[in-house]
């Protein structure tokens, strides 16, 4: 038997603490979603649940960020997000234009107010 020490140990951790606990939800989704049809009510509901979770993720990343983004004031983060969304709407729903505007606003605001 190979002992799980030394160089193999981090890879064992990756499988047990990273890969398996993450992939299990993909596997369950595959098993549950395999027999459903595109227009079915359950698929609509699943899409709504997933979309609401993404909404939650977005809001949390803006309001309670970690790392370097936390050093940029909340007002700057919110103003940049607003700039991004306005640019997105003005540019006929271009995600690229929105992301660019948001990043520029964050950079400018961070430069002016982060000290």
């Amino acid at each position: 038997m190979i002992t799980l020490t030394g160089q193999l140990w981090p890879y064992f951790l990756l499988i047990v603490a990273g890969y398996l606990p993450n992939e299990i939800w993909r596997a369950l989704g595959l098993v549950l979603g395999r027999g459903l049809d595109e227009g079915s009510e359950l698929v609509m509901l699943a899409r709504a649940v997933a979309t609401a979770i993404i909404g939650g993720v977005v809001a949390k990343l803006i309001l309670f960020p970690s790392g370097a983004l936390a050093n940029v004031p909340l007002s700057v983060r919110l103003a940049a997000a607003l700039c991004a969304f306005i640019a997105f709407l003005l540019a006929k729903r271009s995600v690229f234009a929105g992301v660019l505007a948001g990043e520029a606003a964050l950079l400018l605001g961070g430069f002016l107010f982060a000290h």
């Binding site: 603490a17 992939e23 899409r47 649940v49 983060r77």
Partner: protein, 242 residues
């Protein structure tokens, strides 16, 4: 008969999926995100190959951040595994919503395994947007191309970030971290054409931070359940009244 895109071969569909990935805004987002993650992996003392393997196997940025920071700060295997699995619950409803677009009569189970593994927010959002316009028999190779294009980008920029690690100025690091919420915000808003999706997204934006603020456990799972069910109820009610 219909105006669905047809490709010369599954291989051509795969190539077009890769092309779509390389031309999409998510390319910049993934590049930026994995630049930051690579630097994080370096700072916590993981090897570059360990980090690359984690990108290929886990393929979910939030789970990778949790894995790096929990193992890096000395959490136990069980603590890290629980934190990772809680962050990954969203993958289940995402797959349930995506599979009907990929599957058709006679699709083999094993052909769904690769698209299943590639499913992450970026691939999911772009698949939901692009797959309905593609002939069903070419959707699986197209989706695989999309996933391969994104994952390749993430791997390359993960390495770059790993070796740049110490050189990232703080404000630049902040703008990299801002790429993810910005791109998810607008790509999801762009995809939300039906009222039920718009309602779900709006509810998630409000409920998510409220639950996080009050430190409700499993906040994102409850955001999905509450926001998704309310949006669905609203959708049924409108249907019943119409």
């Amino acid at each position: 008969m219909s105006d669905l895109t047809v490709y010369a071969s599954p291989r051509a569909a795969f190539g077009n999926g890769v092309r779509s990935a390389l031309l999409s805004v998510f390319l910049i987002v993934l590049a930026g995100t994995y630049l930051g993650l690579g630097a994080l992996a370096h700072d916590f003392g993981f090897t570059e190959w360990w980090f690359a393997l984690s990108t290929a196997l886990v393929w979910a940025a939030p789970a990778q951040v949790i894995l790096l920071s929990s193992l890096g700060t000395g959490a136990t295997v069980v603590q890290a595994a629980v934190a990772v699995t809680l962050s990954a619950i969203r993958l289940l409803p995402m797959l349930v919503a995506l599979l009907p677009l990929l599957r058709r009569k006679g699709t083999r189970f094993r052909d769904l395994l690769l698209p299943t593994h590639f499913t992450a927010i970026s691939v999911w959002v772009e698949s939901l947007r692009l797959l309905p316009g593609i002939a069903p028999e070419f959707r699986i190779p197209f989706c695989n191309g999309l996933g391969a294009g994104y994952m390749g980008t993430a791997l390359v920029f993960g390495f770059i970030g790993y070796f740049l690690a110490a050189g990232l100025p703080p404000l630049f690091a902040a703008t990299l971290l801002f790429l993810t919420p910005m791109s998810f915000l607008m790509s999801t808003a762009r995809n939300a054409r039906m009222m039920i999706d718009r309602a779900a997204f709006g509810l998630g934006l409000v409920i998510g931070p409220l639950l996080a603020w009050y430190r409700v456990e499993l906040d994102l799972m409850w955001t999905g359940v509450i926001g998704g069910l309310l949006a669905y109820a609203f959708h049924r009610l409108r249907g019943a009244l119409a």
